[in-house]
């Protein structure tokens, strides 16, 4: 739920990075924090255990574009991926405006990816939000590892709904496509918000898996 403040001329949006344990959600935020201009970001707050596992959430506030004199502010959150922390995930999802679902591309993580996506759907449903209504993109992370599933298999598992969404091959540790996916979900969010006042409908985002030249393309996604 976006918040508009006419006095400070700000619009606030909340984007949550969701996915199974150790899939790279915190790494996404750490890369964005490191690479974005300091004038456009606040501190990265990380509530982690001694072993660097996210205990509560990570939080990164960003300032973005000005639209009609209003500064858009995006608040990025991660959730703890470990199964037992579902209550925390429900809390972090409160008032969410957009989601980046981070999937782990390794073969052995497929079940956890699917389970986490189902968990996202369930937790959104608790807030009376359908996954089909909320702007979200998919990240297929860890594309630099050896034992990874092809993109079309990940598409079949996670992007096989009536409404397909943008998906990205990501290497969060080097930053590959980290900003592309953040920009994609931010654009979707702003377009949805503009539609809220019956503005001309924006073109739906293309279903695509952008790949930068440095990473070999595994397979072309196909509709299954």
């Amino acid at each position: 739920m976006s918040i508009i403040n006419y006095a400070s001329r700000e619009i606030q949006f909340k984007i949550v990075y969701y996915g199974p344990a150790l899939c790279g959600k915190t790494t996404n935020l750490a890369y964005i924090h490191e690479r974005i201009s300091p004038s456009n970001r606040g501190d990265l707050v990380s509530l982690a255990t001694a072993a660097d596992r996210t205990l509560f959430f990570d939080f990164l506030p960003l300032n973005a574009v000005v639209i009609k004199g209003f500064v858009t502010k995006f608040q990025l959150y991660t959730v703890p991926g470990q199964v037992i922390y579902n209550a925390t995930r429900q809390l972090v999802l409160r008032s969410v405006d957009g989601v980046v679902f981070v999937a782990d591309s390794q073969w052995e993580k497929m079940e956890e990816n699917v389970e986490s996506f189902r968990n996202l759907e369930e937790n959104l449903a608790q807030q009376n939000i359908s996954i089909d209504e909320i702007p979200y993109v998919l990240q297929y992370n860890k594309r630099d590892l050896g034992n990874i599933a092809p993109v079309n298999y990940l598409e079949f598992l996670l992007n096989n709904r009536k409404k397909r969404v943008q998906s990205f091959e990501v290497i969060s540790s080097t930053g590959q496509n980290v900003f592309s996916s953040l920009n994609a979900v931010s654009q979707m969010l702003l377009h949805k918000f503009s539609k809220g006042d019956a503005a001309p409908a924006a073109a739906p985002p293309p279903v695509a898996v952008p790949v930068e030249p440095s990473v070999p393309k595994i397979a072309t996604p196909s509709r299954v």
Binding site: M1, Y6, K14, A64, Y77, H191, K195
Partner: protein, 156 residues
């Protein structure tokens, strides 16, 4: 969760009046009204020394984290939380089902005074927020063409 409508300049001025009056009476440094999702709705006082956005996110988390603790002793949630420091303290109290008020204060005042005045302030804030028309929409509009096609965030 009920959505909080957009705050117009008039709404913010009314909130500021309530919060300013509270700060003066309680002799606190800063008061922030947030939603339970961690978004700051309004703030009043010395905001230069801390990032209100981060305070709001962490306070919402802190408030929610104690809910289970409250449930174990037969409560739905704790209505107020107090974090005591050496020189600076934070007092948080529930305004309504969607909103929390955070007060940061120092050695000039006491938690009792803050707690006393915060109760009436929370009621006044709740009344004001309830008086806003939830169907009024956000009143701010822009077209899709107003959104830049360029990447919103740039990788340096």
């Amino acid at each position: 969760m009920n959505s909080i409508p957009a705050l117009t300049i008039e709404n913010v001025a009314s909130l500021d009046n309530i919060l300013g009056d509270f700060l003066k009476k309680a002799d606190a440094d800063l008061v922030v009204v947030i939603d339970r999702g961690g978004n700051a709705i309004s703030q009043f006082g010395d905001v230069s020394v801390m990032d209100v956005t981060i305070i709001a996110a962490l306070a919402a988390g802190s408030f929610a984290a104690t809910k289970e603790l409250a449930r174990r002793i037969g409560e739905v949630e704790f209505n107020a939380l107090y974090h005591q420091g050496n020189g600076s303290h934070i007092f948080m109290n529930s305004v309504d089902d969607d909103t929390i008020m955070i007060t940061v204060f120092g050695l000039r005042t006491t938690v009792g005074l803050v707690r006393f005045y915060s109760a009436a302030t929370a009621q006044a804030v709740s009344k004001l927020l309830k008086s806003l028309d939830p169907n009024a929409g956000h009143g701010f509009s822009f077209n899709a063409s107003d959104i830049t096609a360029a990447p919103i965030f740039a990788d340096r």
